[in-house]
């Protein structure tokens, strides 16, 4: 599975769109290079149960439970991300400046996913290098989607300042976020100018950024634009078009014919993709089809994705996250039992094969499993997997990979709405305490 194909930028941008669409509370992806499933905040399946382990027993308690759970989740998220930032910032800059910046960015983006750009900005200030500019651009995108023009432009400007003197690919990653801000705000000329000269893979994302702010009357025209891009056959265009199409599809609830045509276009485009992307986009398409009431087709699409996972040879560290991707989508289709069975099978597979996975890559699998169990509301199983992820992340004797793993696991916990139990708190403290020389 590719981490780079789904950058932090797209994670956060898509998550920002998801927030506008009311999807902030849904499970969010793991950070780039952390080994989780590719991000799909917009298309994540709706959990079949709230992410709490103990169901409320009385009517009063039932009424109060969601509010209390939300408060607890918010408090826990804050604590978890504070831990994550402390871990990231403990990584020494002298040798591991790139790893430190990446881990810090994960934390800032997790706050952004949670709809808290103020906290995201506060943490972004700690980041040295180009990732700070990228983060600031993404913060600006969220402000733009919220309609706060002044702050959006402020962050566009800050981001562009960080782009100065950077290598082209880093500059483009920042610049495109600024272009997206202007596109969302309706400054088409500025958006075009900022994206001029950037690679196709980046410029195509500007088109996708405006999906959340389109009116239903604009859907057809936008769909035609995306159809043309897909027909053009350039794969970066196709990828960007699919990234834009899937959220658009979910917004097409008032025009079934239009939606089905869009789904057919996406479906037809997938065989041209590498297998890992076929699986990922296939699960997202299944989720969208389900939302449109096309349950049979959704299930067929998901079964195909499951078959592809089973028949594809993945590196040992990547297999589990692909299995979890399908399981989560199955949960989104309302097949809680099927999802649980798939997760249990993936867990058993991981347990039997984990020694084949190099220790620095091992925590990715239980982390993905924990997110999967969170998606079906099984806090207890999730906790077991979080604990396994934390343990797996401490096998390597060096603190740099341990800190990266701990940061990634904490961020995944925060994004999943994990509740901090005493056991988790104790394990996290132990992990933090173990950090130090040698890095």
């Amino acid at each position: 599975m590719s981490r780079t194909k789904f950058s932090n930028r797209s994670i956060c941008a898509l998550a920002s769109m998801a927030c506008v669409l009311g999807a902030c509370s849904k499970p969010a992806p793991q950070p780039e290079s952390a080994g989780g499933p590719p991000p799909s905040p917009v298309e994540q399946p709706t959990p079949t149960a709230a992410p709490t382990a103990t169901p409320a027993s009385t009517p009063e308690a039932k009424a109060e439970a969601p509010r209390a759970a939300a408060a607890a989740t918010t408090a826990d998220r804050g604590w978890i991300l504070e831990q994550a930032m402390a871990v990231a910032s403990a990584i020494p800059t002298k040798i591991h400046d790139r790893e430190r910046a990446q881990c810090q960015e994960w934390v800032a983006l997790a706050y952004l996913d949670a709809g808290d750009p103020i906290a995201a900005a506060r943490y972004a200030e700690s980041i040295e290098g180009w990732r700070r500019g990228e983060c600031e651009g993404l913060i600006g995108v969220q402000y733009a989607l919220k309609g706060d023009r002044e702050l959006a432009l402020k962050y566009a400007r800050l981001a562009m300042e960080r782009a100065i003197g950077e290598q082209d690919w880093r500059r483009e990653r920042i610049q495109i976020e600024a272009a997206k801000i202007h596109a969302i705000l309706g400054n088409a000329i500025m958006a075009r100018d900022l994206s001029a000269g950037a690679s196709q893979a980046e410029t195509g994302k500007v088109d996708g950024a405006v999906i959340p702010v389109l009116t239903p009357e604009q859907f057809e025209a936008q769909a035609k634009v995306l159809d043309e891009v897909i027909k053009g056959g350039t794969f970066d265009g196709m990828r960007n078009a699919l990234d834009a199409y899937l959220p658009l599809l979910r917004r097409m609830t008032s025009n079934r014919e239009q939606a089905l045509a869009a789904a057919a276009t996406i479906d037809a485009a997938l065989p041209a993709m590498p297998m890992d992307l076929q699986i990922i986009y296939g699960t997202r398409l299944a989720s969208a089809l389900h939302a449109l009431g096309e349950t049979g087709r959704a299930k067929e699409r998901l079964d195909l994705a499951a078959k592809q996972v089973a028949e594809t040879v993945f590196l040992p560290e990547d297999l589990t996250s692909m299995q979890v991707e399908v399981a989560k989508a199955r949960a989104g289709l309302g097949d809680a039992d099927g999802a649980r069975a798939a997760l249990d099978a993936a867990l058993a597979s991981y347990e039997s094969r984990k020694k084949e996975i190099v220790d620095v890559f091992r925590a990715r699998s239980p982390r993905a499993l924990a997110e999967g169990y969170m998606a079906i509301g099984d806090q207890a199983k999730a906790e077991t997997c979080w604990l396994e992820a934390l343990a797996a992340g401490t096998i390597n004797p060096n603190s740099r990979p341990r800190a990266e793993d701990l940061s990634a696991t904490l961020v995944a916990m925060a994004r999943s709405g994990a509740t901090i139990t005493p056991a988790l708190r104790e394990r996290i403290a132990m992990c933090r305490k173990s950090l130090g020389e040698p890095w």
């Binding site: 780079t4 020494p92 040798i95 790893e99 082209d168 690919w169 992307l277 590196l315 390597n396």
Partner: protein, 580 residues
């Protein structure tokens, strides 16, 4: 000697002779992050792996001198890091004890060039970026299309199995970092223990673009000088001499940039795999098989390529194979033995009928010369090729622009160059063919020694002195590399301006007296460790950074491992502009 973690490095302290430094015999893999310090020398006793998660930091000025012919070698596994940041004043040198024996009083800036190679192993680095490899001995699960699950076993390394994580490279993270290495000189290498093949001077498999590599020197290696498989790492400032096979060999979908490279063909002996004498200066393969992706799509600026003209020892200037795309700009082709540019498609893949350009609907070789750089093949393509292929930014998939050609005497030297219009477009200059005029030479000076025939069939005239600074048509170019934050906008052709010589101070050629210093001598930037923010002076910002790092390793100037009063003292003593 600094304390080293006994769990990861079984080190034996000996007394070194020439270097008057403690010699550490490195006998076991490095699983715990470790620092090699300049007050020791390190002797690799076998194939040493830096295991996933560990970081090997090597201080400037550190010598890694391995017992001659023992086969010591160093490999950085996927998920591990190397941080080897030398300076031009204090380079990091990997070599053999036989080389060290020629140094005067252990001074690494001295020594005698020898006809030798294969005396120790090499530096191999393995990362997790995409590679293009399937079929033909690739792991069974590898796919023709880019796939994060595609991997390959590193040439010359023997693992416990073909999937041993210590010996494989490849993955799906083009932003992967394997660390940083700068001002590193690798000399007389290529030996591998227990195998019939040899090692390249520097092997880079699946290296991502967050890895930083600059100022690399390869002197006398039995196989290739630098070989890159896949990934998208960039290279800047490299000097490759007397290589037994190809000086720079690229394969499996490299998608990077390179600038400022000096390649000098010569000989270093006779060997089974690399012949011991130079083969191609650049050998550019696309992918394995030919229709796989990623496919090599790169750009190089400012190379000075010096071959072996008039002899049978040098081969092609730039040999293209297997769907490779490469742009060569602002460079010098000089003394090339055969054709300056050639498509051979000959790398043994013919057995499956998948030979090279145009295989399975891919573009023909000829079409590459006229197809814009941003036209991506749809055969086994990336989902987002423009993101994957970011190195080229203008022109065609293959082009040669703004280069100077000099003294390429083979009768067929320009056959393909003429076929593809190299001299009718692209600002290229042919500064002399059969009657090359020394006044037109694109470098200041070069001296070659008596012709030798080291392996009985390939005649070589070794370069005995060189002043590689630009001269003649190389002094000014029409265009420059793009302003992309990586390239320097050098307005000249070849690796050196008319005034500067970056070989000074850190390369084998300089230590051995082959490099001719420019008038006024080599200018070597003095180290300025107190300049923490790298702005060229030591001032308030550096002081602020030091105070912020107090008690940690982040502001450590004196390499004590901590930021403390001693570092403050060093900083205050260095207050003001850094020495030039």
């Amino acid at each position: 000697m600094k304390l080293m973690n006994a769990s990861c490095l079984a080190a034996t302290l000996l007394v070194a002779g020439a270097a008057s430094a403690a010699e550490i015999l490195v006998t076991q893999n490095i699983s715990t992050s470790t620092t090699w310090t300049a007050n020791n020398t390190y002797n690799l006793q076998n194939q040493i792996y830096v295991l996933p998660g560990a970081t090997l930091t090597i201080e400037p000025g550190t010598i890694v001198a391995s017992t001659t012919n023992l086969g010591g070698s160093l490999a950085i596994c996927r998920g591990a890091r190397i941080v080897a940041n030398g300076t031009n004043e204090s380079p990091i040198i990997f070599t053999s004890t036989a080389d060290v024996a020629t140094w005067t009083a252990g001074n690494p800036k001295t020594g005698t060039p020898r006809v030798a190679m294969n005396e120790w192993g090499n530096l191999t680095v393995m990362g997790r970026a995409y590679i293009g490899k399937y079929g033909n001995g690739a792991p069974a699960g590898n796919t023709a299309a880019p796939n994060a699950a595609n991997f390959a076993q590193m040439e010359g390394l023997t693992g416990t199995s073909s999937t041993d994580p210590n010996v494989i490279y490849g993955g799906g993270d083009d932003l992967d970092s394997s660390g940083t290495f700068s001002y590193v000189s690798l000399r007389y290498g290529g030996k591998v223990i227990g195998l019939g093949n040899e090692l390249n001077g520097l092997s880079l498999g699946g290296i991502g673009k967050e890895t930083i590599i600059d100022h690399i020197d390869i002197w006398n290696n039995v196989d290739d000088g630098i070989e890159i498989w896949g990934g998208n790492v960039n290279l800047q400032y490299f000097s490759v001499w007397n290589i037994g096979d190809d000086s720079l060999d690229i394969d499996q979908g490299w998608r990077g940039k390179a600038q400022f490279g000096l390649i000098v063909q010569g000989y270093s002996g006779n060997a089974a795999q690399g012949s011991g004498t130079g083969d191609n200066i650049l050998e550019i393969d696309g992918a394995e098989k030919s229709d796989a992706q990623p496919v090599t799509t790169g750009v190089v600026y400012n190379l000075t390529m010096i071959g072996q003209t008039g002899s049978t020892g040098g081969d092609t200037g730039v040999e293209f194979r297997d769907n490779a795309n490469l742009q060569i700009r602002n460079s010098i082709f000089m003394d090339v033995g055969e054709q300056c540019i050639r498509n051979t498609n000959s790398d043994g893949e013919a057995t499956g009928g998948q030979t090279g350009y145009a295989f399975n609907g891919t573009l023909s070789y000829a079409a590459r010369w006229t197809t814009p750089y941003n036209t991506y093949s749809s055969v086994n393509a990336f989902a987002n090729p423009a993101q994957a292929y970011q190195a080229q930014a203008s022109g065609n998939l293959i082009d040669v622009r703004d280069c100077v050609f000099y003294n390429n005497l083979n009768a067929s030297a320009y056959n393909e160059a003429n076929t593809y219009g190299v001299f009718t477009s692209g600002n290229n200059v042919n500064a002399g063919t059969l009657a090359a005029n020394p006044a037109d030479m694109p470098i200041v000076a070069i001296t070659k020694g008596t012709a030798v025939n080291p392996n009985g069939s390939l005649i070589i005239r070794p370069v005995t002195s060189i002043d590689p600074r630009a001269a003649g048509a190389a002094v000014t170019s029409v265009g420059t590399a793009p302003n992309d934050g990586f390239f320097e906008q050098a307005q000249f052709r070849g690796a050196f301006s008319s005034t500067g010589n970056w070989l000074c101070g850190w390369t084998a050629a300089d230590a051995f007296g082959i490099n001719i210093a420019p008038p006024g001598g080599c200018v070597i930037a003095a180290p300025c460790p107190a300049d923490l923010n790298g702005d060229g002076s030591v001032g308030g910002a550096d002081l602020g950074a030091l105070l912020a790092a107090w008690g940690t390793a982040d502001g450590d100037i004196d390499n004590s491992g901590d930021t403390d009063g001693a570092d403050l003292g060093v900083m205050l003593a260095a207050w003001g502009s850094c020495p030039q």
